[in-house]
Every structure is written in C-alpha cells, then in structure tokens.
C-alpha cells in the first residue's frame, strides 16, 4: 500500500521560492537518473536521461524532490489500483482508494510525506485524488504548463498540475511550473510572470457562480449535501449562485474516452522493447515479438484502452467514433464558453461519489469511466479547474470543483481560497 514507487531524494537549488519545500512527483514525469515507471511493468527499469521541464523548474526553485509517486498505469484509471506496483490506500479514509490516476501524489500530501506534489490530469487525474484525499489540486488551462518530459497518454487533453494542503500552497507551485517552454510548442505565454499565490486572498464578494445542474443531479446524496453547504459558505461571503445548463456534458464521458483511447493507442505504440521498456528477449518475426513483449509489459486497463483506441481509429469506424467525439468536444467547449459568459466560475462536486472501497471498481471498467463525469468535460474544453475540500460525508472527503475561463487561474484560485 505504498505511496511511492521510488523513494529517492533529489535536492534542489539552495535558494528560490520553494527552498526548503519537499515535493513528490508523479511517476510519469521524467526525472534524470531516477527511475520513471508510469506505474507499468513495461517501464519498470526505465531511467530517463533528462528532466522534464517542470522538474528542472522545481529544482531551480529550490524544491527537494522526495520520491516518485504511485499512479494508475500510464494514467489510465480513477483509483490508482491499475498500477503494476499495487494499490495505494487513502491516508484519510481507511480501506478506500485515494482516487486516480495521481493517487500517490495526493496521498503524499494528505499523509504529510511531502509538502507539495505534482500530478498530471488527462480527465481528472489531479482533481479526483485531491477530492478523495481532502487536499487541493489544480488542472491548469491547456498550454499553461509544459508537457516536455511527461510520458504521453492523451496529449491533446493532459496537463501537469500541482497538489497542496492549501489553495495558496498549490498556487505557489503552479507559479513555479507555469509559463512557456520552447520544448513544448503547445505552451502559451500567459503563465510567464504569474503570481497565482497572491490571488489566494479569499475575496469572493460579488463573485458570480454558475452551477451546472447536469453535474449535480446524478451525484451521491451526501456529496450533494456537502457541496451545497460549501456553496452556502461562499454565498455568506458575498458570492451569488445561479443554475446553468450544459446540455453537451451528457456526451462528454463518451467523447473523452474515444479521444483519450485513440490518442493512447498511438502514443503507446512506441513501447516495443527495442529502445526502452520491457522486451522479453524474444527473437523471430518482429510483429509477433512486439506483441508478446507488449502482452507481458501492459496491464489489463492499458490493453483495453489501446485496443479500443485502435478500434475507434480503424478503417470504417473512424467517422463513427473519433470524428463524432471531436464534434462533441467542440460542443462541450461552446457550452462552457456560453455558461462562463454569464458567470465568473462554474461549481460542481469534483466527484459524483465519495472514495470507493479498495477493490470495488476494478471488475467493471465502464462503471469506473462513469465516475469521471464531472472532470472530463473540463479537459475536453481545455479549461482550468481546481478541486478544494468542501467537507465530509460519513467521514469521507468531498471535493468542490471550480471551473474558470481559459487562463483564468487567478479567478478559480481566488474563489477556492475562500473555502480554505
């Protein structure tokens, strides 16, 4: 039930905004000389020869890296149970999952093993474990943070994001990692001189909060109650709320999984055991050898997604699945833009359910996918979102998600800090 896959220390610079701060790093973010497994047997012995840009920035900022954290294999999961290195237990909820896929990173902060942590969020993989472990997690606007050195799962959707015990601490880590990078052409200039930490001033007077009914209706009763109590707290501090409708989100989980699986089938084609990764040492026809190496190296959820992605992109099915999913993605974006033209932020429960019991979700993949209903629309729309602790239901943590306009990190950080 380990939080870390590799517990190795990398010391940062003597001075800097994060000097004396310990940071745990998800094991799909490359660390020079330190094993980076992605939670997969495929990369059990992989040692990157270079640092991810975010790791360089951590070191320059004076942070000490304390270890590489457990995760769902290649980021594919909502519970951290698909890791080839075993599950992680939720440090604040006995016998429950920490959420995923960045479950080890959230657990490290919740358990006090690190002050801060980095995760990656493709469809909720920072916000879900933040909600389940009772900590703060931020999914930045697509393009705010460099993905150079992040092992790709679904690159049009994912961003690296910070965890902290408070909104201000998570925002301070975002300040360090945000900003353009010549090694990632999808990065934008917006985060260059950010001071997100300063935005955590708790001032929500006059803030307009839209509540998408579709993201509240299907949720667990105790989660909904906790969510509305937190909204009451924001209203008591001067915020106003109104209901909004996002008709498109009914199709978001389907669109997300078609796009993510399709991208995964392409991104994970590189793992053939020749340049890196598990080879099995077989000889013979290359296609057969690679098929065997990949059978041994990949776990069930990774195989499922690579195969479904291959199917969705294969001749005769591309228009039916992939193209329609792209239409749905454009529709979701349009819906969010409209809702955010009449609200400063949108609020929902981060997860529709409290943390699941360990072992409960693995047998039914579709059920696990549906748990991502409130987080995946944000990735489809490329928007920033934060999960902040809202309270508890039956002793289990509940997260509140705030979504803002593109590059509106300051707005969601300010709003979330009112609940700190």
């Amino acid at each position: 039930m380990s939080i870390f896959i590799s517990e190795e220390t990398v010391e940062g610079a003597d001075d800097g905004p994060l000097a004396g701060t310990t940071v745990a790093v998800k094991d799909n973010i490359s660390t020079e000389g330190v094993r980076t497994t992605c939670g997969s047997a495929m990369l059990e012995d992989y040692v990157p020869p270079y640092d991810a840009t975010v790791v360089e920035r951590l070191k320059d900022a004076g942070a000490d890296i304390v270890g590489k954290t457990n995760m769902d294999e290649f980021g594919m999961g909502t519970t951290t149970e698909t890791s080839a290195f075993g599950a992680t237990e939720n440090p604040v909820a006995d016998g429950r999952v920490p959420g995923g896929s960045s479950g080890g990173s959230a657990a490290a902060v919740a358990a006090g093993e690190a002050d801060l942590a980095l995760g990656s969020d493709t469809g909720g993989s920072v916000r879900c474990p933040a909600a389940f472990c009772g900590v703060v997690g931020i999914k930045p606007t697509y393009g705010l943070v460099s993905r150079y050195g992040l092992v790709a799962y679904a690159n049009s959707l994912e961003q690296i994001g910070p965890f902290g015990s408070t909104v201000e601490e998570a925002a301070a880590l975002l300040d360090v990692i945000a900003g353009p990078d010549e090694r990632d052409a999808t990065t934008r200039k917006e985060g260059a001189d950010s001071d997100y930490a300063a935005a955590a001033d708790g001032d929500v007077d006059g803030l307009s909060i839209g509540v998408p009914t579709e993201l509240v209706e299907g949720a667990d009763e105790g989660v909904v109650e906790t969510f509305y109590d937190a909204l009451d707290q924001l209203e008591a501090q001067g915020a106003t709320t109104h209901e909004v409708s996002l008709e498109s989100v009914e199709y978001a989980v389907q669109a997300y999984y078609v796009i993510a699986m399709s991208e995964a089938s392409s991104n994970l084609a590189r793992f053939d055991g020749v340049r890196y990764g598990h080879s099995g040492g077989y000889d013979g026809n290359w296609n057969e050898v690679f098929g065997r190496a990949r059978e041994e190296g990949f776990g069930a959820e990774v195989k499922r997604r690579v195969l479904l992605g291959t199917y969705a992109l294969s001749a005769g099915y591309h228009d039916k699945y992939y193209k329609q999913a792209q239409d749905a993605r454009a529709w979701v974006k349009q819906d969010f833009d409209e809702a955010l033209s009449e609200a400063d932020v949108l609020a929902s429960p981060t997860m529709p359910v409290p943390p699941m019991e360990l072992g409960e979700s693995l047998s039914d993949p579709l059920k696990m996918y549906l748990a991502d209903a409130n987080t995946v629309p944000v990735n489809l729309a490329d928007l920033p979102a934060i999960s902040v602790p809202a309270g508890e239901t039956d002793g289990l943590p509940v997260g509140l998600q705030l979504v803002g306009p593109a590059f509106g990190e300051e707005t969601i950080i300010r709003a979330a800090s009112a609940l700190d």
């Binding site: 199709y251 969705a312 529709w331």
Partner: protein, 92 residues
Amino acid sequence: MSDTEATPDDVRHVAELARVDLDEDEVDEFADQFADILDYFHALDEVPTVERDADLVNVMRPDEVREGLSQAEALSNADETEDGYFRGPNVS
C-alpha cells in the same frame, strides 16, 4: 444482450493491429466488456455538428543545431545495442 457486436474475432483482429497478444480468457472478457463500452459510445450519434474554429497559430523557431542527448544517453535504456545502434530481435 447488447446491440453492438464485439466478437472474440473482432478483439483478436484489433489486438493484432495494436501488436498486443492476448490469452483466450482475456479475449472473451474483452469481447464482453467492449460490447458494453461501444454501446455506450453509440450515444455520440446524437451529437450535432459544431463549428470548430481554433484560434491558434503555429509556433515557429529557427532551425538551428543545438545540443541533444548523447549517443550513449540515447542507448542507455535499450536491452541490446551493437556498435552504437539499437539492436532489434533476430529475425531468423
């Protein structure tokens, strides 16, 4: 019964395209699961066509020689190398 046909043969075909071997138990399990998941994806049929107008420009830079990984670094994670090259499986 689901409406989508995802037969064990379909699963085997896709697994071959994806270069992922499966054992027979996995083929049967995936066929069942894929039928449910693909059924669920069918809702995408109802999605209207929406104009996709990404407001983005390409990011360009001069094509200049710069330092990259050394040959030794690039080869450092390969199972087998020979004379500074990656070595693939023996075909014969």
